[in-house]
């Protein structure tokens, strides 16, 4: 029933939030749409699975996913972004597209294109609050997301790294004058976004107890819609848009059928692009200043 679907939607929304934040970090700071994030999300899931299947503790899976994806993201930044940092932003976007193609091929070759499954569901216990039943894994997804978002917020607002990120978001040249190394900062931005996407991958993999090389395209791409709805110039828009879109999608599946879910999600995105391109949280629309 409704509340149950709402809870399910929030879970999906939490994953969307993480991936949308990932897109938003790079987009907000560099203006680049990193299409490889969808595959960093997918890879994170595989890294996490590798840990779980090796009977190692779950927190390690999360770390493996985040670290692994952050590392790959660093490679993408050096090889796929740096050569194009002065080119029009569509060029590095195409370059990240190249990487996403490579990464998906690599995953398919290493792990096969059939779903990789956990033999038993992790955290399968369910808790019942009246009419609502929520599983431990759903709680884990929500909990981990909240923690990661809080950490990111702290990082961005209270640390020198965060200041550097915000400085580069304002203006690369000014940032350089202020002594902020733009190259190192973009590397950090990429790695942070990789870590977030990787975490999302681990979470979704544990939630579904299965992973395929195609979840990047199935779920990761839709997070672009979440970023747009939240507002590409304000990364915190993802906090609102993630749960919103997650709930919208789950409700659509529950009441309209799973065939039109993408139609609704992307339809929402296009509506926002046309009517309020700055997104729900994007301010007056003229204010391009506050990006992070």
């Amino acid at each position: 029933m409704l509340i149950q679907q709402f809870v399910n939607g929030l879970t999906l929304g939490a994953v969307y939030t993480l991936i949308a934040l990932s897109y938003s970090l790079v987009m907000g700071i560099l203006g680049v749409l990193n299409l490889a994030i969808a595959e960093l999300f997918m890879l994170g899931g595989y890294f996490g699975f590798a840990v779980v299947l090796a009977q190692l503790p779950l927190p390690l899976a999360l770390i493996a996913g985040m670290a692994g994806s952050a590392l790959v993201a660093a490679i993408i930044e050096r090889v796929g972004y740096q050569p194009f940092r002065t080119a029009p932003v569509v060029t590095p976007m195409l370059s990240t597209l190249g990487f996403s193609i490579i990464l998906q091929n690599v995953a398919t070759n290493i792990w096969g294109s059939d779903p990789l499954q956990l033999t038993e569901e992790v955290f399968a216990e369910r808790f019942n609050f009246g009419p609502v039943s929520i599983s431990a894994i759903q709680l884990t997804v929500l909990g981990v997301t909240i923690v990661l978002v809080a950490l990111l917020a702290f990082l961005v607002q209270r640390t020198s790294i965060g200041r550097a990120l915000r400085a580069v978001a304002e203006n690369r040249d000014v940032a350089r004058l202020l002594g902020v190394s733009a190259g190192r900062t973009t590397l950090i931005a990429f790695m942070l976004s990789g870590a977030l996407a990787g975490a999302a991958g681990v979470l979704i993999g544990l939630h579904y107890a299965a992973i395929t090389p195609y979840i990047g395209v199935e779920i990761g791409l839709k997070a672009i819609a979440v970023m747009v709805v939240g507002g590409t110039t304000r990364i915190w828009g993802a906090l609102i848009a993630g749960p919103l879109m997650g709930v919208v999608e789950v409700m659509t599946v529950a009441y309209g059928g799973s065939q039109i879910r993408d139609f609704v999600v992307y339809g929402f995105m296009i509506l926002i692009l046309l009517l309020r391109p700055q997104g729900l949280l994007g301010g007056s629309g003229r204010n391009q200043d506050q990006r992070v």
């Binding site: 987009m27 796929g80 569509v90 190249g98 490579i102 990464l103 091929n105 995105m269 692009l273 046309l274």
Partner: protein, 275 residues
């Protein structure tokens, strides 16, 4: 038989790549042309199977319809620039695919069949016709205007060019060409399903243009050949050919951003060409 299959794929990819090229010529990157291809595929199939029309008029009607949709969709969308437009077109392509998934009148997820098979030769006749048409168009006034809009939209406006109508027109034209690719695809494979018109298909078109040459029409042909024929020669790469293409894309962007063919190269091949 096998080579006919490959040749057919190249032909369809040429048309798809041309559709992206036409739109890219005004400076807009479309990541959703598979959507127009799907519209063309389904509409053409409906016209031949349900309405009993012959292929050619069906293709033309579908092209016109897709072109009209392209104009209607393009008009508000082309207020967006660069990455925002790319995202909108991505969304559009996915929406079309999702629409047909839900469109049970033409099979929904089970797909649609019943089309009459069309030969590789027919596909190539269309591909060559459209390619030549675009190449002729490239010598026209409107193409100079298109190039001006791509270069510097503001300066183009100040010389009297209506950038919006040029961009919207190109979008519609590209949509029409993608629809023709779809109609031919449907009649060659005699079975279509929404999964044929996914984001990956849109990316194939973009890949062909970027690799083959994004500033001249024959680039679409070169790119299509590269994408389909190269894996046949790189059999040892069989499992890794997608990764190879990804690497090739990145490499091309670094080394030769305009792709394989460009105006300078073509001028060398044609000794007697004026400006």
């Amino acid at each position: 038989m096998y080579y006919a299959g490959i040749l057919a794929d190249v032909g369809i990819l040429v048309l798809g790549a041309l559709s992206v090229y036409i739109i890219l010529s005004t400076g807009q990157l479309s990541l959703g042309n598979a959507g127009f291809m799907g519209i063309g595929a389904y509409l053409t199939s409906w016209l031949t199977v349900q309405a009993g029309l012959p292929l050619t008029p069906s293709l033309l009607i579908a092209a016109l319809a897709a072109g009209a949709i392209g104009v209607v969709v393009g008009f508000p969308a082309l207020r967006l620039k660069g990455i925002y437009l790319a995202m909108a077109t991505l969304g559009f392509g996915e929406m079309v695919r999702s629409f047909f998934l839900n469109f049970s009148a033409m099979g929904g997820p089970e797909g649609f069949h019943g089309m009459q098979h069309v030969s590789t030769g027919t596909i190539w006749i269309w591909a060559i016709l459209v390619l030549v048409l675009v190449m002729v168009l490239e010598t026209s006034q409107i193409w100079l205007e298109i190039r001006a809009v791509r270069d510097d939209e503001t300066a183009a406006g100040l010389v009297g060019l209506n950038a919006t109508s040029i961009k919207v027109g190109a979008f519609g034209f590209g949509a029409a060409v993608a629809a023709i690719a779809g109609g031919l695809f449907a009649h060659h494979h005699v079975y279509i399903e929404p999964g044929n018109f996914s984001f990956e298909r849109s990316i194939d078109f973009v890949l062909a243009v970027i690799l083959g040459g994004s500033t001249v029409a024959p680039g679409a042909l070169a790119g299509a050949v590269i994408l389909v024929v190269l894996p046949e020669y790189l059999r040892f790469l069989a499992d890794w050919r997608f990764a190879a293409f990804g690497a090739l894309l990145i490499g091309m962007l670094v080394v030769r951003r305009q792709g394989l063919l460009d105006r300078a190269l073509l001028r060398l091949a044609r000794p007697s060409s004026p400006a």
